[in-house]
Every structure is written in structure tokens, then in C-alpha cells.
Symmetry: C2
């Protein structure tokens, strides 16, 4: 079974972490979602951390996981910290195949999303 | 003339700020972009700041501006800091009409973008 693990930074504001959890629920219910499960994890501060997030996927039956870094810029978190945590978790859980996708900010449709967003004035 | 001003956090890493500038260029060249100009501004650290970003739009002929907060979570930056800076700038530049759109992370298509992103394994 294939899982998507959305990895966000994590915040001291519980509302902010809850936004990530709600986003994960929305991804899971999309018509074209072909993952068997979608989970959230946080690099810092909030729970579950990346190791626990991967363990949660495995507990639900995951044999492969795509980790999506939910970050806007390709800074140290994306280049070093997230891959480092995943490599460490992978070493301890060799039975699951973990891959990392491009980070959100580098996604091609981002420009369209900005334009779409601009049309929704609050 | 109507401008889009993309407001990012700003980073000490120049590459990260350049990503925002490149994104702005991509937005400007989209087929369905109906703005007369697209500019970038940064809440902290990088230049131009929000005040200067608005001034740049006006210098290029803007009579109205939609500011898009390029943030993933609805934290203090989105709720307080960005609107505060814009209100301050608006008070000093009353001839331009400035509106704020919803922030990027609250955008409806975000769930689709996460799914799309997960299909692009690096």
C-alpha cells in the first residue's frame, strides 16, 4: 500500500498545525487521490515528528511512502533537514520504501495558484 | 492599472528570495494573467519591503493593487503583520486602492497541488 506523508514545518500555534491536518484530510478525499492513506508529520515543534509520521503510515499498512515537503522555499529545511530525518527513519525501517517529492514551492502550478489566490480578496 | 503584489516572508538566503522573484516573473507571463504588472515584496529581511513594493507598483502606474500573502499558515504574519504594513502604506499613499487576497495556504486548490507535487519524486 502506498501512502502520502505531508511534511510541514510545525508551529507553536495549534491552529496552524491543525490547518495542516485539515489539508491532509482534504487531499485524502480528492477524487484523483490514488494513495491508500495520507498522513501529516512535522519537522519541528509539533507532533507527530517525521519518524513517528512514517511509523504511523507503516502501522496503517504502508509498503511505500512519498514524502511531500510542505515548504515554499528550497532552504536548509528542504535541502538538508527533511532528507536527513527521512534517511535516518529509512535506516531504521528498511521494509518500507520512502521517496521524497519536490517541495511545494517548486511546483510548476504554483504561479497559477498565486493568480487564483489573488482573485479571492478577503 | 491593476497590479498584483506578491508578499513573501523574506530570507537571509538570497537564493530563496530569488525564487520569489522568479515566481513573480512566471505569474506575469501566464496566459490568464490580467494584471498590468506583477511585483514582489518581503515582510522582513529582504528588499523591497512592503512599503517599497507598493511604491514600485505606483511608479509603474498602478491605481489598484491586490496583495497576495505568500504564506502557508494563517499565523501572526498573515493576520497582523502584513495587513498592518499595508494599512500603514495605504495611509501614506491614499490615491492607490490596495486589497488583500486570502493567503496562499488557504487556497482551495492547495490540496490538488499537494497531490500533484507528490507525483514529482526527485
Amino acid at each position: 500500500m502506498k501512502f502520502l506523508l505531508l511534511i510541514a514545518h510545525g508551529s507553536r500555534r495549534q491552529d496552524s498545525n491543525d490547518e495542516i491536518r485539515q489539508l491532509v484530510e482534504r487531499v485524502a478525499t480528492l477524487d484523483d487521490n490514488d494513495y491508500d492513506g495520507v498522513e501529516a508529520a512535522f519537522l519541528e515543534i509539533a507532533e507527530p515528528d517525521i519518524h513517528q509520521g512514517i511509523a504511523n503510515c507503516i502501522e496503517r499498512g504502508a509498503s511505500s511512502i512519498v514524502a511531500v515537503p510542505y515548504f515554499l522555499a528550497g532552504g536548509n529545511h528542504v535541502i538538508k533537514d527533511v532528507p536527513g530525518e527521512i534517511a535516518c527513519a529509512q535506516a531504521g525501517m528498511p521494509a518500507v520504501d520512502i521517496q521524497i517529492s519536490r517541495y511545494l514551492g517548486s511546483s510548476e502550478p504554483m504561479a497559477n495558484l498565486v493568480l487564483d489566490c489573488s482573485r479571492q480578496v478577503t
